[in-house]
Symmetry: D3
Subunit: 322 residues, 6 copies
């Protein structure tokens, strides 16, 4: 950044190199980050297809050293931008398949690389989770998941449409990719369409830390979940709408009364469990809708969420874990 200014040059995520340009000594890369410019899964406002592009641009201002964790992620991890996954604008399920295939392909070429998908609407989380699960050899029982969101995303819509941004985790549970008993949802809040919308998550053992619960009890339930998880690998999905629209106006289904950015960062950092880090094996950051954004703050926030999630893994890696 001090050689080329941050306002110059082509835009890759956080100025990490393009995958094809990674130096041999940095291969195989540790994390491959790719965009999924797709929003056919939305139920309200479309436009998240422009999310990856906006986040690439805004993230030119994301720096590599975390004061809070005392770690420079670029010293610990080899990171790369693999461009955008192939998508089919008019086909929801077809796109999820093609994204998974793309991601698996990369993971096979870059042995051991972990996958971070940048959305796009939340439906794409299914595709990246599935690819992660397949690259791990389809572990029985499915993956563990930390899920930041205002919405449960385990809803089946009345129209019968099974694939949308309201249902990725229900589909992932059904397909054995996700273990609902190892799923922690943070930031859920109302109002919702019906009380029964909570049933699937509750019936399947998902741990719910609603926004209100967090206000009243703090990180108690989260700590219990993490203790249970121990050093097991975990996938992290971050829907930007768990942060209040004042901080993240650029999203399609804004939910009033959410976290401040600082609170959200505090929660992600808390997953580092006092410096141990977290064995994050895959991640996504989704639901950035640039046309509704203001001064680019939502995209800039998304770039920093990517950074904070990578920090968790950098700490674990530095400590010899994950």
């Amino acid at each position: 950044a001090r050689v080329t200014p941050r306002f110059a040059g082509l835009c890759t995520f956080c100025r990490y190199p393009m995958l094809e340009a990674v130096a041999p000594e940095n291969r195989p890369v540790d994390w491959v980050i790719y965009g999924v410019p797709f929003d056919a899964g939305v139920t309200f406002r479309p436009g998240a297809r422009f999310g990856p592009r906006a986040i690439r641009e805004a993230s030119q201002y994301v720096k590599p050293y975390s004061i809070e964790h005392g770690v420079n992620i670029c010293d610990v991890l080899s990171l790369a931008d693999a461009g955008d996954a192939p998508i089919k604008p008019f086909a929801l399920k077809g796109t999820l398949d093609s994204v998974s295939e793309f991601a698996v392909g990369i993971g096979q070429r870059e042995k051991g690389a972990r996958l971070m998908a940048v959305g796009g609407d939340h439906s794409i989380a299914y595709a990246n989770m599935k690819a992660t699960w397949e690259l791990r050899g389809r572990p029985a029982g499915g993956l563990a998941l930390v899920h930041f969101d205002s919405h449960l995303d385990t809803i089946d819509m009345t129209g019968g449409e099974k694939w949308s941004h309201a249902s990725p985790f229900r589909r992932a549970v059904e397909d054995g990719i996700l273990n609902p008993r190892s799923m922690l949802s943070i930031g859920i809040k109302g109002p919702i369409n019906a009380g029964t919308d909570l049933d699937y998550a509750r019936d399947n053992g998902v741990t719910l830390v609603t926004y209100q619960r967090w206000r009243s009890e703090g990180v108690k339930t989260i700590d219990a979940f993490l203790a249970r998880l121990s050093d097991q690998p975990v996938y992290v999905t971050f829907d930007i709408d768990c942060v209040d629209p004042a901080f993240a106006p650029g999203t399609g289904t804004p939910s009033i009364g959410g976290f401040t950015s600082a609170e959200a960062f505090g929660l992600i950092r808390h997953l580092a469990r006092a410096g141990r880090g977290l064995d994050v094996i895959g991640a996504d950051v989704v639901e950035v809708l640039p046309d509704r954004d203001v001064a680019g703050i939502t995209s800039l926030l998304a770039g920093h969420v990517m950074f904070e999630v990578l920090c968790l893994n950098a700490l674990a890696r530095r400590a010899g874990r994950g």
Copy 2:
């Protein structure tokens, strides 16, 4: 919402039916919501006349079930949108009279219906309070009031103009509509024009919980007020500018350093007194100025404030009170 998408159809408040279209089995309605597209009472930025329209549009995304309270307000209450009150753009007092008359008329036709006015500037609170008071048979001593605001709104301007958005509660006290000893003002903050601007409220026994007081003592004074109020009916007025401009940029006299949306919701929900609910007999939400809004977040916030206030009454109603 799962039959007609939230981006389709004509816009009524929160997708509640228009009053003339309410099914017979849902009559008389419990709450009549109406707009007051009026801003001739402002002292700084006009434009709140477009508030009702913007809130109708944004509130298409307000859902009926509160996770926090565990109640679906549409199961408990019959709600309707009565359109906009007749206003006279060039006549302040004349408009207040015509709004009161309109509201009383509705209340007489829909026996027992409560009135929620959506502003418009804060001057209109007088009109809706007066109508509420009249429909209740002009109770001696006046109504109790919970008042969310950055400003006291009990100021007489030097020019001699008695009617404006700076004075509705002073006028209401003078006319016997409002009991100042049963008035709680939450969120008041400086800077103000002069120290003496606080005198009227203090001299008349209004309970003041300034923003700073809330930061230091929490809900202590509020709880004392509620205990004193017991199950007495109460009117709720919510000026959107008690929320910080980061969350509510679309307002005419923004006040820096206010509540977050989550804090404001927490305070409204606290009025439910651990599930008892509140016998809210009338309400207003005011001072939304769409031309200054950003990504519609102020209007969306206003829609959710309406919802949270209705929840208070739904809880009371479900518990057989209010």
Copy 3:
């Protein structure tokens, strides 16, 4: 407008009555206007699903008397807003079918009513044209069409997807709904993907008045087309992107270097053929994307395009034609 101010009340198109509220003496209505909040047909920016809502709001400021034509359309025509057609957010062809069915249903109930669809993306033109054609008894040879657009919309995409906003008129020709030899496209301009994209239109006899052709020859070719058309009924489709993005920034595939609003109005008014009017039997106004709009000028323009098209028919009607 002088009784209820233009900033008050619920929003219907141009303040015309809702269809169910039309007085008996104004029935059957002459024109039924309905929204199609749909954008799954786009190839670039989505968001036109919010077009009908934005146009309803902006068109509160559309007045009924044309100085230019000397006609008050509300004196000549009975106009109504029928709300939004049912759409299926995740199904392109299914939506076109359901919109057609909805429109035919209205046309059958309101004998002789003409249909104006307000988009939504341009794919929906197919549905409204088809309904118009069916209500007319499926005339052999298909309808005549005046088409304002920057794009030909007769393109088949390489992916094989047949239904999108790039192809409605190709589909309409194939299905016998549209007669390409009676089709006039005004405002077409480059750059385009390939020179061969012009072939289908040219091979099938569409009359092309590109923007550049209009600049050099004026209305000569248009006049020849109108002369050939004589008093035959005609469908009018207006894609807002034929107007330059300075005037219509709120659209999904903006095309730089287009008409000014005044030039576009001049061309529509020219279709009145010096006061004869035009027997417009159906129409649509499409591709308004409010999230990209600025100060609502695109939506306001769309409302006035609706007005100008209705004027054409009002003149013909007043003259005993159409």
Copy 4:
């Protein structure tokens, strides 16, 4: 401008000196420019009260030499900013009186100074015209007027309110301030509320050059008017909404299909009658509503309209006229 950059310093209109700071050798000033931050006369969108402030800021970039006329207005005219007139936010007629009084006072102190009022809504034109008329000794028959506007502003509203931005010229005619037979309205266009809205202007001999008439006949009627006017002094009123909303989005009652900025400048410049200039004895520029503006282009346009009007007088002055 080359000593202090245009982004530095307090903002006066076009960087002209404040009236109290004008050097003795430049006194009495030729033109006094003052703001009227008032919008209680509007029928639709308020907010023009912020017009003077926004125009002061944007006009920091208005330079003094006209290439088109070959004149540097600051070499020919002594210009000053007198600040804002005193207004009464809650009193329409009271404000017009107080503005007139303020303007007459200035004119009396600065012998021979002409008055340019910067609005604010169009109702204020009455006040500045009246002051101009009084300073001239109340000439019998009233003043001549060149009026740029989309609207006639000679309408009486049904509510009976006589003072608003729809009626200033009707009031001025009634009070003998304005001679309707010496009034030229340029840029009028539809749609309007009713055909009869044109009657007052037509019946009283106002010369109407509608936008459409100008498109078809050019400046023919304008030239005839100017010839008739000869070297008689004339007042110029410019409502920014005669320019299309693409160029002037920041206004309260936008009218689609108007002049481009270049066309508007061409028309003002044409009033110079090939270098003779025009004996402009007073002027106003009104209806700038900054909250609807985009990148400040409307305010910047207004600043340049002020400049172009002053050029007319500078030319006349240089030629020994006016």
Copy 5:
């Protein structure tokens, strides 16, 4: 404010009088406030040169009485706006010299006046601190400093450029103007370019209260610093980017996860040490970039920060200190 409305008149900071217009009885003034429209020191987004202008406009709505402190600053302090310092757009060091010289000149004319500079980028803090230090007779050891910021601003860039908004305090330490052991930096946060960027501050004894530290320990370290400082005079520098971009989007190097406005006000007010006030001898508020602002909230925040800092001194003055 109750005589002239807040939307009228020319704009000075917080409506304080221009320095040349201060009444004799209010001379010498206590605080001179001036703008520095300069941004050639930025490393990322330029545009802060328009900060003073925007803050002057927004601060029309800053009132004089603090409810929180119970003080009316205009009763205690004589305040004035001295316009903008002369700057050289193409010369960074030359500008700092010319600003210092300008400020010293004012301080010499207004005996005892303190200087508040309004930026502009943070490089200008050096100039105002230097002027303050010189007017105090160049006290050995340098000034004490309370520094609100997300960034340390003690960085030397690799290019060798010594003057920029990244280094003002390093330069001030080197020149003896600032005592690093009496410097408190509040709100620092990551990510940063490298861990070594913290070295200079740590090695020189700067007290660091990072955002995260404040979250975990509150004001403990701040209180210790204040205790050590005792009643020593102190300079206050406030970089608006220490406040989260949701509250202050209008800045050039936004830092996600910062203070809310209310938290920032709480921290400034805390410096009053329970009513003692603070002997603030100079101050600046910097890094407001209006082109990125939203509804003017950043500029309005900056105006209130100015107010809160002045309150600290008003309290001290009222108590006979400072």
Copy 6:
């Protein structure tokens, strides 16, 4: 575009390949396009440093086939994006040198490649012209130039600063790079600072087609210039501010009353001299300031200007010239 959607993938200018990724069969490339993210040369609003980035993003929607010219530029020319030139944010002349050197280096590696620079402010035109001139062997007499602009850019500022966006062509003339007698300036307009600002251009034989001159005489003078130029190679510089701010709000020194986009395109296309094309040997497009842009229309316009200029050369190339 029909394989990868236009909203996917990393952004290069108009989706042309990155220089290092050009296939061997397309080498050497015909045009190398590069960005110059630099704005230290501005006299008013900075921010054009973000121009290249914004134009890369917006130009994803620029297609390759010109209907107007009947040419697909990608069939005729090999085009590539070389990224951004190295710049020195704090050094104006140093940056111009480093840009020239960078451009010469590319031109030497890609034999015969022509250079298109994308600004950045207009000062950078000097650097690209100089590189072009050097690669051509420093032709005596200097290059011919077609210059689109509102401003002459041949001004020396009073401060003595020789390098800025007001003077590139004066410097180029002085250095023998540009032949002022072969320079055509199109679109110049007032107001300007002083009448003498025109002297340098007039005294040195520059052909001036002011906006007003073009309105009155059309392309007469342009045609005479082109005739004189014959098939001589020519450099084209396009300052986006020659287009009216309604079409190009995103610029630093907007000039009211300019070309529409369509008029500007018409003028560029006219340089093709009825299909002959133009031997364009270098070009730049400058002064796009994204922070002031609206819905990206200025950047999109800039992308199409690049396309239209390339068309001129494609036509000449196809015809065996240039």
